[in-house]
Symmetry: C2
Subunit: 348 residues, 2 copies
Amino acid sequence: MTEPNTMVFMTTEHKKVTIRDVARLANVSYGTVSRFLNGSEHVSKDASERIAAAIKESKYTPNKAARSLAQQRTSTVALIIQVEASETVVQYSVSEAMSGANTTLGDAGYQMVTLIANSEDSTKRIEQLVNSDFADGYLLFSLSEDDSLANAFLSTNRPVVRSEVSDRGDLTYPAVDFTNADGQRDITRYMLDKGRSHIVYVCGPGYSPASIKRLAGFKEALGDRFDDRQVYFADDWEITSGELAVFEYQSMLSGIDGFVCANDNLAIGVINQLNRFGYRVPDDIAVTGFDDSPMAILSNPKLTTVRQDSMLHGRAMAELLLTMLRGEPVRQYYVRLLPTTIVERQSA
Amino acid sequence: MTEPNTMVFMTTEHKKVTIRDVARLANVSYGTVSRFLNGSEHVSKDASERIAAAIKESKYTPNKAARSLAQQRTSTVALIIQVEASETVVQYSVSEAMSGANTTLGDAGYQMVTLIANSEDSTKRIEQLVNSDFADGYLLFSLSEDDSLANAFLSTNRPVVRSEVSDRGDLTYPAVDFTNADGQRDITRYMLDKGRSHIVYVCGPGYSPASIKRLAGFKEALGDRFDDRQVYFADDWEITSGELAVFEYQSMLSGIDGFVCANDNLAIGVINQLNRFGYRVPDDIAVTGFDDSPMAILSNPKLTTVRQDSMLHGRAMAELLLTMLRGEPVRQYYVRLLPTTIVERQSA
DNA sequence: CTGTTAGCGCGTTCAG
DNA sequence: CTGAACGCGCTAACAG
């Protein structure tokens, strides 16, 4: 059956060394070994040493499934991303946050499994998983306002941390978020202070929670002078949409001296199109972004933007979850807001 | 203890509905329920219906840990990334591949856990995990040639798929990789065909497997004309290193008409610095990249580069692993090479 | 086709 | 301080 040079993998069979083997080697009962492994004080120094030696000798590693079953904990945390079907999951800020969360969870002895909800099927699968308590806690990134998934968590009593403050009153989970509104407000004021008074706001897609908050910040900065007609609603976060925004305002461009954009991609699209139309940035029209992604220094001119530390975002979420996993109480609706800062470059 | 407005989470206690409850509701033994759940044919239509109803009514979801323990499979796959401590994990191509792998594994009913090995600690942790057979299979991204981790897999007989062909003979795992050498060779020839004959190669960092292969491709294209002095060895994959390369060759720039770079970042750095030195790209000096990352269209001029489909890379790796998990035999050293294509833009 | 039962590997009583 | 025994929720092998 199995030809030479062919690998076949068995999922069964594998003479694994168990706690019993260790016990035998160390000349104790396996109950004692278990106590030793779980750091119980009630193990004699003598026995401890023999057990330690036995473990090393036999290369014993505890079986995760058995342990999970016995103590009802999985040492696993699930990071769940909910996105529009159309949207790409691979956004810089999300990747960074995932990476941050992964390392702090890993250091704490947890494994992070990543689940992506971008279709009915995947959403249903994830609901099932959550319902089976397959993880000890959850990190929830709702890149879309669609709430179908959030409901799944109502039936579990495992801790959940969200990546953004929610509007829904029944979602009492704590969250770690950026000062989106403040950041957008501040950079808008920055523009205003530089004498730019005819500003267009390129808003993110409507399904995004961040879009709403940033728009609010823009409005706040403008106060009474705000006019609905000065905001363009993009369909997504991509460069192309920034270009489209400029097309939309093409006929009025001579009366405009600034574009405030809800993220870097949109800003870059705006700059590109402005260049094509022969406008100089920032001399004729200034442009700002949001995120300070790696692309921010690639535009011409380089982007003045709002910086947020996405890696920290992930780390902070993970840390919060870890405290909850330790059993420490956390206030309902608790929110930790991470700062955003203006990065001044050439585009504004 | 627990104040109002405070959430405390219990990791124990949770009256979960088990297979027994379902059995009672459906008036069958729980062995029958188990068979039903595992798709055994030997369940009467009548019983099946009652069980299905009972499951729905009780909102039963099987316990993963128990199932894993009993059947020695975990329904999880680990994606392991090995990087230099200094290097950022968040590289576009890796994120894309992760996303691709995640969706195809998810569709197949597997959860993907991501593990990052970038320190002694994390490496040791991962070795432990692998040794405890905590996953059914592994996707291994060695972004660094450091082999300390690869050894961990020698002691498991779970299937492993690598993201690049290995030089080590004892690592017999199948791999999915790009035609790195061919891609680099072809775009070099493209340059040569355009009459560029004084070319510098900006090589990736020495710890990267891809670096080696791409360099080989460059050499192949040049054949006898190859000269050691025309290659610059970058310390990493970042833009800055591309800029440094140009500095290095500053005094000879007038005699150079092309830079072939091992990735887009390096190429962008080269272009930037060339621009600063007053050279026109591609008129004076042409530049090519590799990856076709999103940044490729942001440089000025836009980058002519080698495209590789990283999402597909992840998908293909996952698919290969799935076939192995199904028990289908796979030849030792089997390698699937994914195509690379030249994307012609303005920089060359 | 179905009920029964013996583990899977480990944590946790409870005596001693 | 330590050993024995039971149970976690489920699968699988065996009778029937």
